[in-house]
Symmetry: C2
Subunit: 467 residues, 2 copies
């Protein structure tokens, strides 16, 4: 494997060429043999493990328990909620042969687990005493894609899907909000990716749900990426699948439900947002290796000093690069490409002076100080840079001319009044390729006119080109 | 849900009826809608998480990294190793439709990942510097089953699969041994299940491997359960898939490989081995709830004391049962059925005296002392009881008459000389249903005669009825 910089296209020249190359060269992922699939290599999977660790703690703390439901959903079960099956039909992978025989009923490889989980909920839930049911799964799901975009668009991806059932709509809505807030915290505090929380439009919401909250992130070329979603399912599934409970008064009621998911797509957003022309730049909290120590030569003394330094770094995820047959310059390029937040070089001179050369990956600065503190500083600075980018790339369009101009030039998020009619939404998309991303939760009610039709509108929605 | 004891068949009357009933009643699992599938309910999945936590630490400590490879394996790839595909063919689930279209090439839902992983290894491995490759996956696999036996035999199960590639056979064999030893430690120290480590016979080894090490556990009715396996794959896959490296002398060589797996079947063994007529008995280290605190009435004072006691138990996994509408007796039965290792009752009298009634699940004894110490004692006692059972259920058969007599009456493990011919092995199986379980690694070379044909034999093998 070679890590020479000249193999890597410039990020500013062609974002997707840069992205594909850097993900492969940094050994985070590879293509799988079946169309649309990918391999999570150890460094790529480790990022997912670090996200999981942080998120699983939050999930458990809030009283949700993990479980595991089957991969295979009988076709008839998938059909129980009409809008749901229509939404997913074009994306399904279907098992028709099992144990050497043609199956009587086809099995869907789960694209999401609402139907299979809720069939069990219908059996398990009888009384108000059984509520709330708070269950999460960490698993793999399949939604057919013809072309792989590593991490960002793949036939199979990894995620968590939370599925809760409540006695009241209010309690369910609180859980919907909890999930999107928890996701936003992970995105900001771990992935250093600020975003906008908002409500999806009717045409963009989850198939079978009442309302969807989303976290929208802006990518370097000014396109929006849907970071994750949390759905208020109302009573749609409980009515379709008969999930009823006896309330305290002895009345039979349908439960209120929600589901919320966060996928490995988040890793794609992470890589794309923070990298530069030299390769990846990983925020310390999700970096598989936080500090790389490179002995300047392969001399015994330098190796020993490097190992000692590593041992003294405690909980820090550290790697000493002792690989033979690579020059110092080659190694520096390699670890820059892999995005390791901090590099420490250990040479004879450094051993004598007791002061090692430390270089930040994000700024290229030579720095001094305590490693833990430097890593925190990098994490904070990376978030601050993204916040600045988000702020500077969010525009307001007073009229449709302005709207089109922004979409043709700098792109980014556009805030604009919209009358909430499907027709205006789809015309805008046709003409500018920009879709409604969300109604930001902090958007105030205002008096305005739809940017497209000029009719009365009460809120400024967020628009952007989307992945 | 009701937890009345009379619903539960006696364990000694009918083990499998007891087992199915207790797993459902204790809410550890449920049946999935597709044949052969199961749902891991939160309490059942939590056991898996606790096993994962302990094992993942060991795996990482030994230098193996986690990764994730695709679920779908193109049929042509699966065919690369002849014995391997023949071994798995009758068990495969096959996707023939994707994205609404008939697929040109069928996709196998992974029954195990050798072929798909090794195709990538062939690409990634070039030089001796790239070795060893040490990768593990935590994932789901599918091997078709018509009838579900919860945890023990299911179409889809969860597992880890380790896949390593080395420059030398010796290094690979050391990894094979490391894996089985690590598994044995988890079985003994966490699941309180002693077993026999040994080598599988030619006919029982992994399809496509050179040799298989196994951990064989004895179940209460004297049947053996294969606890997990670790395979020396030799160069079979590297030759079939062209995984070559340049050694230090510049020569091209095929890598030496191994794979090793531990599945959710282990949970079935755990539940079956330790339960009794009142329900499950869980060893503290893998019990989702280690201590249940039951307020004797729902009085405020008792609830407060129960909560305070729980808060004082620190890292112990504790639950306070505040569910309304259940009597003390009902609650005691419920938690006994769920197998919680230690029960603490909090009543007025106990609050006054400051001494709570504590009852061990495994022995029914009322105990005194510090909770952590009691839990350790329970863990140790449970292992000791299983060791005694294993010792007392292992027989030696000097001749075939004795062999048959044991298999017809008490069953258990039989140690007997075998000439290692496939014919004797299959005749013994036909006539007694007992199969070779393994050649225990500690078996000495001895002079003897095959228990079946009377020809010379050099080792006593372990036989048993198997699941």
């Amino acid at each position: 494997m070679a890590y020479e910089k000249r193999q890597l296209p410039k990020k500013s020249d062609n974002l997707s060429d840069w992205y594909n190359a850097v993900v492969l060269l940094a050994e985070l992922a590879d293509y799988g043999p079946a169309k649309g699939t990918m391999i999570f290599r150890p460094a790529g999977y480790r990022i997912w493990e670090l996200i999981q660790e942080a998120m699983d703690k939050e999930i458990k703390k809030s009283g949700v328990e993990n479980a595991y439901f089957p991969l295979f959903i009988p076709e008839s079960l998938m059909r129980k909620e009409k809008e749901h099956v229509e939404g997913f039909a074009p994306q399904l992978a279907v098992v028709t042969i099992g144990g050497g025989e043609e199956l009587k009923e086809k099995l869907i490889v789960r694209p999401t687990s609402e139907t299979i989980m809720y069939q069990a909920y219908a059996k398990w839930i009888q009384s108000w005493r059984d509520l709330p049911v708070l269950i999460n799964q960490w698993n793999n799901v399949v939604r057919w894609e013809k072309r792989t975009y590593l991490f960002l668009r793949t036939t199979e991806f990894l995620w968590q899907e939370g599925h809760c059932a409540h006695a009241t709509h209010q309690e369910s809505q609180e859980r919907v909000q909890w999930a999107i807030d928890m996701y936003a915290q992970i995105y900001r505090d771990f992935l250093a990716l600020p975003g906008i929380i908002g409500k999806k439009s009717e045409s963009e919401k989850f198939a079978g749900g009442d309302a969807t909250l989303t976290y929208e992130i802006l990518m370097p070329e000014g396109k929006a990426l849907q970071g994750c979603t949390s759905h208020d399912l109302g009573q749609n599934f409980s009515k379709a699948q008969g999930i009823k409970f006896q309330d305290k008064q002895g009345q039979s009621q349908f439960v209120w439900q929600n589901s919320w998911g966060f996928t490995t797509r988040s890793i794609g957003a992470l890589l794309m947002a923070h990298g530069d022309d030299a390769g990846l730049v990983l925020p310390p909290r999700v970096a598989p290796v936080q500090v790389v120590i490179i002995p300047v030569t392969s001399g015994e003394e330098e190796l020993a000093a490097a190992r000692k330094l590593a041992d003294n770094l405690g909980d820090v995820r550290v790697k000493v690069d002792t690989r033979e047959g690579e020059s110092l310059g080659f190694k520096i390029n390699k670890w820059e490409l892999k995005g390791v937040p901090l590099r420490i070089e250990v040479g004879k001179r450094e051993i004598e002076s007791g002061k090692f050369r430390m270089v930040r990956r994000d700024t290229g600065e030579v720095v001094d100080g305590e490693v833990g503190g430097i890593l925190d500083q990098i994490q904070n600075d990376m978030l601050a840079r993204q916040e600045k980018f988000l702020r500077e790339s969010t525009y307001e369009a007073a009229d449709y001319e302005q709207f089109k101009k922004i979409m043709e030039s700098q792109r980014g998020f556009i805030k604009a009044f919209w009358c909430e009619s499907k027709e205006c939404e789809s015309r805008i998309k046709e003409e500018t390729k920009a879709s409604t991303r969300c109604l930001p939760l902090d958007a105030k009610e205002e008096k305005g006119k739809c940017v497209y039709c000029g009719k009365a509108a009460s809120h400024k929605w967020l628009f952007a080109l989307a992945y």
